[in-house]
Symmetry: C2
Subunit: 472 residues, 2 copies
């Protein structure tokens, strides 16, 4: 008997330490617990008394038992787990590691996620309140997407020179999902897909989950993807799709000229290879005019356009869309079978924000913030990093691509920085060939400039210098 109530006490303690029952909360009644654990009421009471003794519960007359977390007199143990030697991490594990690290409040220079200060928080709050007031509209099922949302998107895309009707549009859980639906619509597992190199890790992950093989096409920092390289790949391999970020690609930040977009669209159309265009950074050009999507030059429906508001309005809304062109039937099937529809509430909120003109006003400021933030970071990198370091000059978006001198290891810098609570994205994540960008790093600039960021860049410079020194 003593074993049993101790065992129950241990289980309850675990639930409390896991946060299932929080400090100050009332535990479920003893009868309910006795049923849940399949033991008698008196065993539950003994378990409660044990936990009271351990300092985890407090009995209150007539009210039951309340959780009380023991007060700690000692400081918490330090978080850092030091690693003496670099450990080989697959890009697959690294992606999740990075994501969870940033949630753990490290200096967020890795993921390309905008800081809250750059987001239209107040406006989206207003639009969400408006949407929430619409009761049933927010609860019903929206396949292929809420019509108010699709209509706004159709208007915007028409404004960019892509004449699409609301029926051509499919609402998705962000652009990542749109790209995966597009890939599933036009490929079979094992097929070969062409991508830029260096490539946005999300695209490589998408190819991974769909079970595709990749061919990486060299990409120039200013001119963008090598059309000659792509032509060669099309001739040599049975390429089944090409995924591209034509406007301000991640990580290089390059923007294809209109002439090159036309050539790209025509080349792929002639080869019978669908182009999957990810235009997620298109609205974040730093100056001049909004670059045109490659989709604008598509006369046959061969371009599948994908985008989202994750880099502009907010990542937490998980709201993107796709225009699948002539692959519409298959794309709709893939969406419906994958998760039926995209949540209605965020669609209504964003439709409202767009309709009120708030998005364009917001973008005017955001473009300037991102231009300034990126330039500031470039200057800081220039000051702190070792001689011979190369840095991209993006014309849009908010990431920098940094190439260390010689064969200095970006992965080494990543690991050392991680131990100091600084999160950067190592170059090896941007290719399926592990060593291709081993001497590179990507930095996220979408943070308000402050001492913490400044110090982090300074420290990164020192770690990079150390990585260079380790070479000799």
């Amino acid at each position: 008997m003593s074993v049993l109530y101790n065992h129950i006490a241990d289980q309850l303690q675990t639930l409390i330490l896991d946060g299932v029952y929080r400090d100050g909360e009332r535990l479920p009644g003893v009868r309910l617990l006795s049923k849940q654990f399949g033991v008698s009421v008196s065993t539950i009471l003994q378990a409660h008394q044990t936990l009271e003794g351990r300092g985890y519960l407090q009995a209150r007359e007539r009210s039951g038992y309340f959780v009380r977390l023991p007060r700690l007199d000692m400081p918490e143990p330090a978080m850092s787990i030091s690693r003496a030697e670099p450990v080989a991490v697959s890009a697959r594990d690294m992606a999740l590691e990075l994501c969870l690290d940033e949630l753990n409040r490290m200096v967020p220079l890795a993921a390309a996620i905008p800081h809250a200060d750059f987001l239209p928080v107040r406006q989206i709050q207003q639009a969400s309140l408006w949407a929430a007031r619409h009761g049933f509209e927010t609860l019903d099922y929206a396949f292929p997407g809420k019509s108010a949302f699709r209509r706004q998107i159709a208007q915007r895309m028409t404004g960019l020179g892509c004449m699409v009707s609301p029926d051509d549009i499919l609402a998705t859980n962000g652009a990542q999902e749109a790209i995966i639906l597009a890939l599933r619509a036009v490929t079979e597992p094992g097929d070969i897909v062409a991508v830029e190199s260096p490539s946005f890790p999300g695209i490589l992950q998408a190819l991974d989950v769909v079970g595709l093989r990749v061919i990486e096409i060299p990409t120039h920092a200013t001119d963008g993807i090598s059309l000659e390289g792509l032509q060669l790949a099309l001739e040599q391999w049975p390429v089944k799709a090409c995924v591209m970020v034509a406007n301000h690609s991640n990580p290089l930040g390059t923007c294809l000229s209109d002439e090159r977009k036309v050539a790209l669209v025509n080349m792929l159309e002639a080869a019978g290879v669908p182009l999957i265009e990810d235009d997620i950074y298109g609205d974040l050009y730093h100056s001049g005019e909004r670059p045109r999507p490659a989709k604008t030059f598509d006369r046959t429906g061969n371009v599948i356009y994908c985008s989202s508001f994750s880099k502009t309005i907010s990542p937490g809304l998980r709201l993107g869309w796709m225009v699948p062109g002539r692959y519409r039937t298959e794309a709709r099937h893939q969406k419906y079978f994958s998760n039926l529809a995209t949540a209605s509430l965020p669609q209504l909120a964003v439709a409202r924000f767009l309709e009120q003109g708030g998005y364009d006003r917001y973008l005017r400021s955001a473009r300037q913030w991102y231009r300034d933030a990126t330039e500031r970071m470039r200057i800081a990198v220039g000051r702190s990093f070792p001689e011979g370091t190369a840095v991209s000059k993006p014309q849009g978006g908010f990431v920098l691509w940094v190439q260390l001198p010689g064969n200095a290891s970006g992965t080494r810098v990543y690991q050392l920085a991680r131990e100091e609570g600084i999160n950067v994205a190592p170059g090896r994540m941007f290719s399926t060939t592990a060593n291709k960008y081993e001497n590179c790093l990507r930095l996220n600039c979408a943070n308000p400039w402050n001492e913490r960021i400044e110090n982090a860049i300074h420290r990164l410079g020192i770690l990079a210098t150390q990585a260079v020194a380790e070479l000799s």
Copy 2:
């Protein structure tokens, strides 16, 4: 020149008819349009005058051009497209057809989607308003899910006898996504997966998109899945997973006894085959006590629990979750790579609703509504359908499984009913073997009872009698 402005006018007219620009809305300015279409301002003005002549635009001094839809004097053409002969439709096309039909306001007896009258609309509106007021909390990124939501789910699941911590929980876009993530976590394309037969079409669609092969295990209307049949399948085939609805399976409505759940869990554990449990109807038992999830009897983490609020709180929130047990790492990878995270706003709203106790209060009423609605529909079917018709007696949920006498074709009834604006789910959707349930229909009972529904059941009875007559 005349050709060009007519061409532009045609394009604008299409945009207006597609609803991109709506009745009463102002068109973008002529300069902007001239840039978008790449033609001169005077060509745009000529196009506008043409559209004004056609009755689609109205010029207002100093304000620009406004859309004005021509008033129709004639009645709209009838919608129905009559089909003389039954057409073979693949289950794949049928699913989307059904979904879009219901959106087109047919009598909604096909999809298992609850009517708005059965949903806690006001409460979710309050909870959504509460969530929307939290500004940034709703905008940031929630991998593996908002902690407030995961904590509430952990509490509920602990209450059901599954001791899980918030860290064991992954928020998903509904249960369908959870099942797909589970399948991807434990199988490779081409693998064999065991399912109940008849099977919920969403599960068959999930297997389809993941590229799996299916083995259907006979399922008894009262006892549930045949454990002997499953054992045989495990011995004969390299089964890699088993997907089950242990509580109030769709379409049969059966609930496995606890003894059979224990036997099922142990059998699969011994065979090294993960059990993917879909518990989406568990909260909707009609009487007695909440049936326990099979997950309750899982001692090794071999059961992957999937559920959602789509059948209770609302389908439009697209909010579900999974407890991946010992397959957590792979499930997290699949989620992160598929669409990174689930939208934050619905998670916060539902967490609030759960925390306030509103969900349990709502469920008490909902269970009674669904029991009454299902029973009422059973009686109506009994009155209207031909002699020899069999009907399921579900103990939970809100669907009925109807078996027509002899080999009368359910697909035929589906097609005839569709022409009359009545939507039902034909039996062929519930198996990969086209003819296995050809003489069956599934009816959704989650509608408030009214004359329209009553008449629809009456008509279905007549159509079924007709289908029986066609046999002889």
